[in-house]
Assembly symmetry: C2
Homo-oligomer: 152 residues x 2
DNA sequence: GAACAATAGGTGTATATACTCTCACTCATG
DNA sequence: CATGAGTGAGAGTATATACACCTATTGTTC
């Protein structure tokens, strides 16, 4: 059963089981819901999320923010640049001059506060659609997956 | 309690709860595991997944493949182009000349078969790390999320 | 205190993703 | 069969993502 043909049969039968594929698929699907709802704000869910996390951690360095969101540091650098260009965040040198400290601007806080009801709308749609119980289970599963992947 | 300050307090407290943010975070984390393991094949998990899905559905049109993977059609077009350039798939005109039919090449089947053990390694790491039971619950939750998002 | 390791960050390049717009083709309808 | 609606696909543009490599600063060790 180790010949090429049976390997291919195996691949065919397993093509829908990939943990990564299923996670990415769900992320794409849900991203479209949130992006659609957030559209009036001119922000995507990724950007809105960075604003929220920054709010919760500020002042915060690029690396700490990247760790917290499980994003590559260089990815975050580029995402931050877009928000900075729009005047929603400030990125300035820290005491340790290797570090950059990220903070929200007044405009950024405004954008976050005014987008919150829209975010809540999308969130409610998903959470109620799943049901609280299922949502809690999913949330826990996602959290476990992240820990597991990071530990590797 | 509807003033700006309390809105911001709310945003701060909810910044970790976002369904979309959590899904995307988990997808990033797991993608790194799979991409790392698949590295010897020169394929990323996205590409490997497209090969697998194509295998299961071939011959398949671009739109049907896009629907099945919950990917925007234009995204898939670009992903397919990379695989075509490497000679792993063939994209040719269908009987309905608007359609493009995607099939695996011999080289594509070879890549899929030879990458399968590596994929299995990553998959096992995640599934066993979570435990079968939790993994099944997660899988079901992801599936529900996709249905829900698509229905919108 | 000079040399080197360690840490924080950015650039170049490549893939992944989706929206808008456009083109090509098919089909239904008169 | 002409014409317009509907369908399948690609191009232009912009964001999201990460790896390899690089620079600047800090800390450590002799």
């Amino acid at each position: 059963m180790r010949d090429r043909a049976s390997q291919l049969e195996l691949a065919r039968s397993k093509s829908g089981e990939c943990a990564c594929g299923n996670l990415r698929k769900a992320a794409r699907a849900v991203t479209q819901v949130y992006d659609e709802v957030l559209r009036p704000t001119g922000l995507r869910v990724t950007q809105f999320g960075i604003l929220g996390t920054t709010m919760a951690m500020e002042p915060v360095t690029v690396t700490r923010l990247a760790d917290s969101t499980v994003t590559d540091r260089t990815t975050l650098t580029r995402n931050l640049k877009l928000l900075e260009k729009r005047g929603l965040i400030r990125v300035q040198m820290g005491n340790d001059r290797r570090e950059r400290e990220v903070t929200l601007t007044a405009q950024g806080r405004e954008a976050l506060a005014s987008g919150l009801p829209l975010w809540q709308k999308a969130q409610t749609r998903v959470v109620q659609g799943l049901g609280e119980e299922r949502w809690n289970a999913l949330r826990e599963g996602l959290s476990a997956v992240v820990s597991l992947a990071r530990a590797t």
